[in-house]
């Protein structure tokens, strides 16, 4: 069996935009959602900036009990899952629950809750032998983040294969690739797939401080995330989620569903080089791109837009620029490439899925999101990065890539479904 896999529903919780409509509006405006951290006092940290979601659980349909019970990452997952279910128009109650699966990506799972619990149980770190008598009944769900997939399954009534994929910063692409595989091989007909992370917690901020991966531009948070700019100095940590309804293409067509696009290619590779370092040549990312294009049976010239990893670290942006040149050849210089991390930061495991949402909406509305804050291009980053302003363009084939600690490099191709007409702008 080799079935095609369509995206028929999208839900997004992103900094500066909750819900796919306001998320897309933010991307088109070129505004940035990065700011001084408000979730805790960041004054002792090297990087004091983040792209935070202004999230009031009750406003987005969570009950007070859900708000208490669920870690922030799980709350994002639940809210975006509900949105994508509605968007898909699928009557989940009429489906065979055994044929609905779940694949959730997350790099750091319930970190926020874990750290808060730790502070209580350890008397702010003073007790090595933490005091278990104060533990929250929800600690275990933060301890083992497969709870995220369980929550999503509960929202959709899914009883097919369910799991969490945690490949660090490529989790958001890898969880979609996994879901794609399960539908393609016939293990499920519908997958709730996507990724969530809520890492704006002192321990996460501190560990990226230590590796000096995050931007220290604390004086001007709005311009701190500057992918491909000569003056870039690190990524800006962020949070968010994007969830999708993925559906076997013929099933989607048969019910007259709106198809945002088809996941026509996906591949992941490891650089086997270093847990955080990247060789400049981008060799393994290039291989992931080539492999995903081969799976989609597309020549590089067919790619209309590249959604870059574009984290804004010195080494990443060179690494992937070289990967694009290696994999796409001369076409790399012609195709628009942009990084939405310039606007909404880097939400670790979630961002790969949020970027796929941007790609699908770009195909939908005929536009390429810009790279904000790109004023002085790095001479070594010499592609068309769509600086500052969104650009209208018909997108039939889109490439999105991700790169992460551990050496993981992933690439995904979305293509327009020939049988689908474009929906009027929402």
């Amino acid at each position: 069996m080799n079935r095609s896999v369509a995206i028929t529903g999208i839900g997004v919780v992103a900094p500066g935009g909750i819900g796919r409509k306001s998320f897309w509006d933010l991307l088109m405006s070129g505004r940035t959602a990065t700011r001084t951290i408000s979730m805790f006092d960041p004054s002792r940290f090297r990087s004091q900036i983040a792209a935070e979601v202004d999230f009031v659980p009750e406003r987005y349909g969570l009950t007070p009990r859900e708000a208490r019970r669920l870690d922030r990452a799980a709350q994002f997952a639940v809210v975006s899952t509900r949105e994508c279910l509605t968007d898909s128009g699928l009557e989940f109650a009429e489906l065979d629950p055994h044929r609905i699966g779940v694949s959730v990506g997350s790099a750091v799972g319930g970190t926020t809750t874990l750290e808060q619990e730790y502070l209580v149980l350890s008397d702010s770190g003073r007790q090595w032998e933490v005091d278990g008598s104060y533990m929250s009944p929800h600690l275990f769900d933060a301890f083992v983040p497969s709870s995220l997939a369980a929550e999503v399954a509960a929202v959709a009534g899914a009883e097919g294969p369910a799991t969490v994929i945690s490949t660090g910063c490529t989790s958001g692409l890898d969880c979609l690739g996994y879901a794609r595989d399960l539908i393609a091989e016939g293990s499920a007909d519908v997958m709730l797939a996507g990724a969530t992370d809520a890492p704006i917690s002192p321990i996460a901020v501190a560990c990226f401080d230590a590796v000096k991966a995050t931007s220290p531009s604390n004086d001007d948070p709005g311009t701190a995330s500057r992918p491909f700019d000569r003056t870039r100095n690190g990524f800006v940590i962020a949070e968010g989620a994007a969830m999708f309804v993925l559906e076997e293409l013929e099933h989607a067509r048969a019910r007259g569903a709106h198809v945002y696009g088809v996941i026509s290619g996906y591949a992941t590779r490891c650089n086997a080089y270093h847990m955080t370092g990247l060789k400049a040549d981008g060799r393994e990312m290039a291989e992931a791109i080539r492999r995903s294009l081969a799976e989609a049976r597309l020549a590089p010239e067919r790619v209309d837009y590249v959604n870059a990893h574009g984290s804004g670290t010195k080494q990443n942006d060179r690494h992937e620029t070289n990967a694009f040149k290696d994999a796409l050849g001369e076409h790399a210089y012609r195709v628009p490439v942009s990084s939405i991390k310039s606007m909404i930061g880097h939400s670790l495991g979630a961002i790969g899925s949020i970027e796929i949402a941007a790609c699908a909406l770009g195909m939908e509305f005929g536009a390429v999101p810009p790279t904000a804050n790109l004023h002085e291009p790095d001479p070594e980053c010499d592609l068309d990065y769509v600086p500052l302003e969104a650009r209208p363009a018909r997108l039939d084939t889109v490439l999105s890539v991700g790169s992460g600690f551990g050496g993981f490099q992933s690439a995904m191709i979305l293509t327009r479904d020939a049988g689908t007409t474009r929906r009027a702008a929402a």
């Binding site: 230590a210 590796v211 000096k212 270093h274 847990m275 955080t276 370092g277």
Partner: protein, 85 residues
């Protein structure tokens, strides 16, 4: 005034990057590059962070990156120590 010696540096390197018999602390250790000694950028970041805490000096990120050998690293630290004093 405290000074950082080669022995201090060796101690911190072992602590931050791990002991490894492959490391040959020969006589020209001072001028062998960290890369040739088997230390990657993370090991040096960790070494710099520990040095900062232990010796009470501030080391600029770029200066740490530019220090390619133990001698250059010690010079950097000891120059900063003079300034502190």
């Amino acid at each position: 005034m405290p000074r950082m010696t080669l022995d201090d540096l060796k101690l911190i390197l072992d602590e931050c990057a791990g002991e490894d018999e492959r490391t040959d602390f020969g006589s020209d250790l001072l001028d062998t590059s960290f890369t040739d000694l088997g230390y990657d950028s993370l090991a040096l970041l960790e070494t710099a962070a520990t040095t900062t805490l232990r010796f009470g000096v501030e080391l600029a990120d770029e200066a740490v990156t530019d220090a390619e050998t133990p001698r250059q690293f010690l010079d950097l630290v000891n120059t900063a120590l003079v300034k502190v004093a």
